[in-house]
Each structure stands twice: as C-alpha cells, then as structure tokens.
C-alpha cells in the first residue's frame, strides 16, 4: 500500500547527491552565528540545486474553516471559540457549496479544510462532509491536520489508521501540516497543553504517509521555544521523511501575538528569513519550501525566494486564522505572479502535489 515519493528521477538524484547532512550542532551554530547573507546564500544555492529551472510555484485555493469551536484552547490562537461560547459556528452545506463554487470560478484546484477540535462532530460528520464535497465538486480536499485526526480517533474509539482510511475512502486527498507548532513537548505543554503531543503528531503523519496520503509539515515559531528547539523540530521532520518520504513541503511561519494569550513581540523579518534558510538546509529530503506571505507580507515573501523558498504557497482566497491575530495581507494571483516575475523567476500554478498546471507568460 505504501506509495513511493512521486519525485522525478532527476530531483531524487539531486537530493541524494546533497553533501553530508547538517547535524544538530552544526545547524544551531549556523542559525545562531552566521550573518544573514551567508546563511541566505547557502540556502539559495541549495534551492538552486533542487530547483535549477528557476520556477517558483503557487496554488490557487481557499482556506475553509468548517468550525471554530475548539476544546484545545491553545494560548497562541485568536480564532477559536470554546464550546457553548458565543460566536461558535459549524459551516452549513449552503455556505460550503458557495465557497467551493467561488474557488472553482477563480481557477482553484484545492480547498484547505481545517477546523477546531469540536466535541460535537464525529466521524460520520467528517465522512458526510467529504462525500458532500466530492459528490458535487471536482476539487481536491487538503484537509484535517493531525490534531483534528487524533482528536477524532480518540473521541470515536477508533485507531488513527481506521479514521484515516474512512476519510480517504470518503474523498480526502491529502493532509495539511498544521498543528505541529513546535514538536517539542516541553514547549507544547506551555502553549498548547490539550493538543496532541509531538510523538502523536508525527505518528499521525507516519500512518498517513504509509497509507499513501501525502502531507505537508509546518512549524510555528517565535513564541516560547528556544532556537535549539526549532532545530529539534526540523530534525524530527527530517527523520520521519527519511522513513516515509511523504512530506511534499515544509512551511515555517511566525507566531502572530495579537489577540492571543502569549505576550511576546512578533518574530522579526530577519528572524523569519534565518529560520527559512536553516529549514532549507536541514530539510535536505523535503523538496519544497513555502514562503509565508500571510504572516510576512508580500515584500518579505518575495525576498524569501532568495533564502530557500521555491513556492509562494496559496493565493488564499479566504484566510481567517492569521487574520484573527491582527495580520491581514491580501494577494491576488496576478500580484503573486508579478512578485515572482520581478524577483527573476518563472511563475507557475501548481496542484497539491506540486505538479505544474500552468506556466505563466514571462
């Protein structure tokens, strides 16, 4: 049942050809001591080796948050409502249809479905939701991060594998890498004590990969973790990727403190670029690295293309979670294409699996 990584032979060779990999100590030293441009140049040159065509991709999609009701109560979250609180919602079928229709009309190829750990929604709800979407629309569902899946398995007394199989059968196409935060339990105990632990997050991903479901991985940094714990996070992703090859991309983004219960200033642009660059260098077995314009804004996202990123992420026709934390950037597809082009790259629209759907005119 295990699927191989759909890498091109050429890309696979490039990955295997990479020089000796970075150890924890080397990575931490580089991350903490190297000047910005040297670290950037290393990441840029490694990116060039992995993606020598100079293509920068993006996906047209929409975030649909099917519910904001959540028992997790993470300190960094400005989006959730506790069960029974005012303002909680579960999306209606009509609204869901409307959102998907709009996405398709804008040339979208996927929807990203993520929501809270809502105690009132059971496996039947999720299966029904997927069947509803897949029965009506020709669109890829990239949905349900490991905390949602772990929560659902717990609640329904099923194994993660059973839950994933049921969701796949109902039409789930891939899993987003959310909820990883920092994969170090000491940090999670402080910022997201009720969310799945780091082992469980990795376990859900491993099971998904072994079932042939591909996923992304994320890291939310800049809250309570140390630089060393960021590197630890990267190494855990790298180890799992060595075993499964199931991660399509890695997406680091910085914690946005407004309206949350963690009182710390937001990570700066330089910290973001350094984290991006070290991610590119440590994760020598993950082919794609996404820039986060949603948290960094279009200017820094464009600069990210020189610090290891080869993908601009999604046009995000709708985004709610980061917006709830006070950061609202908007980018049209046209503007994404312009940013990529002006940075000297060829822009291309991709699907969830990083297959190129359309190369834009230069």
């Amino acid at each position: 049942m295990k699927k191989t990584i759909p890498l091109t032979a050429q890309n696979r060779r490039r990955l295997e050809d990479s020089e000796e990999r970075l150890s924890y100590d080397e990575a931490l030293r580089m991350y903490e001591t190297e000047d910005l441009l040297t670290l950037g140049a290393r990441a840029d040159q490694f990116r060039q080796r992995l993606h020598p065509e100079g293509v920068v991709t993006y996906v047209v999609d929409r975030n649909i948050n099917y519910t904001n009701i959540c028992v997790s109560g993470c300190k960094f979250c400005a989006f959730f409502k506790a069960p029974g609180c005012e303002g909680g919602y579960v999306i209606s079928e009509d609204e869901l249809s409307r959102k998907i229709e709009e996405t398709i009309a804008l040339g979208g190829s996927q929807i990203l479905m993520q929501g809270g750990m809502n105690p009132d929604l059971d496996l039947d709800y999720y299966v029904g939701l997927l069947r509803f979407i897949r029965g009506r629309f020709d669109i890829h569902v990239h949905g349900f991060s490991p905390p949602e899946i772990a929560f659902l398995a717990d609640k329904s007394g099923l194994s993660v594998e059973e839950v994933l199989k049921a969701l796949m059968e109902a039409g789930l196409g891939s899993i987003p890498g959310g909820g990883a935060e920092i994969l170090v339990d000491q940090v999670r105990a402080e910022v997201s004590p009720r969310k799945c632990g780091s082992d469980q997050w990795l376990k859900v991903m491993e099971i998904a990969h072994n079932l042939g479901l591909r996923t992304t991985a994320t890291m939310m940094f800049g809250h309570r973790e140390t630089p060393g714990q960021r590197i630890e996070h990267l190494l855990k992703i790298r180890d799992l990727q060595d075993r499964t090859g199931g991660f399509t991309a890695f997406i680091p983004w910085s914690f946005q403190p407004e309206n949350t219960r963690i009182d710390t200033p937001a990570a700066t642009g330089v910290e973001y670029l350094r984290t991006l660059a070290i991610s590119r260098l440590v994760l020598d077995n993950v082919l794609n690295l996404q820039a986060s314009w949603v948290t960094q804004g279009p200017k820094v996202a464009q600069i990210s293309l020189f610090f290891g990123a080869n993908d601009m992420g999604s046009t995000m026709i709708e985004e709610n979670v980061v917006a709830a934390a006070g950061v609202r950037f908007r980018l049209s597809e046209e503007e994404l294409i312009r940013l990529i082009g002006e940075a000297g790259f060829q822009s291309a629209k991709r699907d969830t699996f990083y297959n190129i759907l359309k190369r834009n005119a230069v």
């Binding site: 441009l37 840029d44 490694f46 700066t268 330089v270 670029l273 020189f306």
Partner: protein, 365 residues
C-alpha cells in the same frame, strides 16, 4: 557539511566586486549592472562590504518628532496624496500655538530632532516660516530643527525677497540647523514633466542644497522611486548627488523613498516589491561612496524590510516616529509609530548594534 559551493558573487558582478574591494568609484554602467543583476544576495553582499567598512555593525536611529505644518500646496504633484487646495475639505495650516501645543504634548520625551516639512502654501507670509523655526527652537531649545526641503526653501526665497543665500541665512539665525532631503523626486526632466511639472527643477534642487552646504547647513538627499523612472534615470540621480557632494560637501544621509500610489494620481501603479526596495538601498550604498549614511525608512517599506535592509547597505533606521502623515495618506500599511524598544529590538535581533543618534549622527546624550 554544506559549504557554499561557489562564491556569492557571479562573473557578471566580479568587476564591480573588484572595484568595491579596492575602494574605487563605481561608474554609471556599474550602477545599471547592479540594478539589472538577478543575484539579489550578491548585490547585498557588495553593499554590505561598504557598509561594514564605514560603520561596522553600528545602526543608528533617532528620537524625533514630525511637524507637517500645512498640507496646502500649489504644486499638485501626481504622486502625492497629502496635498490639498486651500478650499478643499481637510486642508489645514497650523497656527504657532498649535505647533507649540504639539511640541509641549511631548516635552517630557527625549526628542533630539524636530523634522519640519509642509506643502508649498500659496499665501503664507515669510514671517510665518521664520516664526515657525523660532517658536520650535524656543519650546525645544535642546532639539535640532531640521526644516524645509529644497522645494520649500526655493519658494521662501521668492517670498522673502532675500535671495537664496539671504533666505537660508535668515532661517539659520532663527534656529534652522539642518534640512531634510525631500522634494528631489527623480532628477529626470522626462519624469518631471509628467509627474511634477510645477515643482522646482533638478538643477534648482541641487543649487539650493549647495547653497545650504556652503552656509554650513547639513542636509539629506532622497529619491522617490517605483513610479515611471527607468533604471538609468535612478543611476543618473545618484551620480548627480555624488557630484554635488564632491563639490559642496554637506549631505549626511541618502534616503530612498518607495512610491506609494493609493490616493494619488497614479493609483494604477503597483507597489514597489521587496527586491526592488532592497536593491535600491544596496545600489545607493555602492554608488554614493561619499555619503556617510544610507537610511532604510521603515515608514515607507515596513519595519520587517527596513530591518532586512541593514544587511543590504543601510545603517540608519530613522526615527522613533510616533505620528507620520504624508506616507500614511498614500496608503502605507506600516504602523503609525515605532517605540524605541521596538526599534532597538529590530536592530539587535538582526545582529547589529543600535545607537541612538542626534540629527548630526552624534551619539545622543
């Protein structure tokens, strides 16, 4: 371990690299080549060589206050969202008492520079300007009054009847000690005719600055980029500033200003991109070898990018500005004020050493 496989500098930039290492002056062709290079990190690396040679890791910021005394302006430049006609809603002129009140509101803050710019008002009398400078100096004697762009000075020289040098002398004795670098826009007649035909010519702008320098009034210089100017026109602008600085030294800093189009006559134009902003900073640092400082003005490009620009040639983050009007009326989404703590954190977390300066780049007391 992964080491850099090849040098950051590619072969196209190698001749420029050699000149930079030897401290040789770059030509217009070098400037164009730098702007056209797709290798952003290499251009940054070259600029950083010069930046570190001049300033090491030092990064300056100033605790200042802006006074925009009027938004009434007869120039109506196409790129401006701030100007109003006298009769238009929202038009204002600050009275001396209002100016004083604004200054007194912040009297307990350790402000070392008052930055004063306004529109070219058709009717305000010469006395208003002299009194403005005098009053500011009176209320805030320990702060430097950095007032009036070359455009305003040109206008004042017309209404004062004292000629250019006489006008500057009179303002200097009222308390003016330095001048901001605004109003330069782009030194290109082609662009000027299209965007700011009523504004003074590039020749006159440079003449005003030369006269100021001769009288010992130090100034800054700017360039408004990201509208319709070509790369060659940008380079020409930098070279003309460099020539004036050779002839009549007095520029302290160069400040590239990213054009913001919202609410202007050019709102069809997209914003400058991050690459463009960083290259502008880097090429300025490299071309303006006789300018001590290059400023990354966070109001224009945002605090994140201004911080990144410190590794691309900039050594100054400008002010702990709490309230700025002109760029924000043109839709800048940057925060309205940064505190000293925030500015210091930006500088330190980028690996640089923050230094609070006064208007003349001396360490603030």
């Amino acid at each position: 371990m992964k080491t850099i496989a090849k040098n950051i500098i590619d072969s196209t930039l190698e001749p420029v690299h050699r000149k930079v290492l030897a401290g040789e002056r770059l030509s217009a062709e070098d400037g164009v080549r730098l702007f056209n290079s797709p290798n952003l990190l290499a251009v940054g690396h070259l600029a950083n060589i010069v930046r570190e040679r001049l300033h090491g890791k030092k990064t300056y910021y100033v605790y200042n206050q802006h006074i925009n005394y009027t938004n009434i302006c007869k120039n109506f430049c196409a790129f401006c969202a701030f100007a109003r006609k006298e009769t238009q809603q929202g038009a204002y002129v600050m009275s001396m008492d209002e100016v004083e009140r604004k200054l007194r509101e912040r009297l307990l803050e350790p402000i070392s520079e008052i930055h004063v710019v306004g529109g070219v008002h058709p009717d305000l009398p010469w006395d208003y300007y002299v009194e403005l400078v005098r009053r500011i100096k009176q209320v805030r004697p320990e702060a430097t009054v950095k007032a009036f762009t070359a455009v305003e000075i040109d206008h004042l020289s017309e209404i004062s009847g004292l000629g250019l040098t006489g006008t500057l002398r009179a303002l200097k004795s009222a308390g003016l000690e330095a001048m901001p670098g605004g109003g330069a826009e782009v030194f290109s007649n082609r662009v000027r005719e299209r965007l700011f035909p009523r504004k003074i010519s590039s020749g006159r702008w440079l003449e005003v600055m030369a006269a100021a320098h001769t009288l010992g009034i130090q100034t800054n210089a700017t360039m408004l980029y990201g509208h319709m100017e070509t790369i060659e026109e940008r380079v020409e602008h930098l070279i003309r500033l460099r020539e004036l600085q050779d002839r009549a030294e007095g520029f302290m800093a160069f400040i590239p200003l990213a054009f913001h189009s919202a609410n202007t006559g050019l709102d069809n134009l997209p914003a400058t991109t991050g690459c463009d902003d960083l290259k502008m900073v880097a090429v300025s640092r490299l071309m303006l070898d006789n300018f001590p400082h290059i400023k990354a003005y966070w109001v224009m490009i945002g605090p994140k990018l201004a911080q990144i620009a410190l590794s691309f040639g900039a050594d100054d983050m400008d002010g702990t500005i709490i309230h700025e009007n002109i760029t924000h009326t043109a839709g800048a989404s940057t925060p309205n004020g940064l505190t000293k703590t925030e500015l210091k954190r930006l500088i330190e977390s980028a690996g640089f050493e923050p230094i609070e300066r006064d208007a003349f780049y001396r360490k603030a007391a």
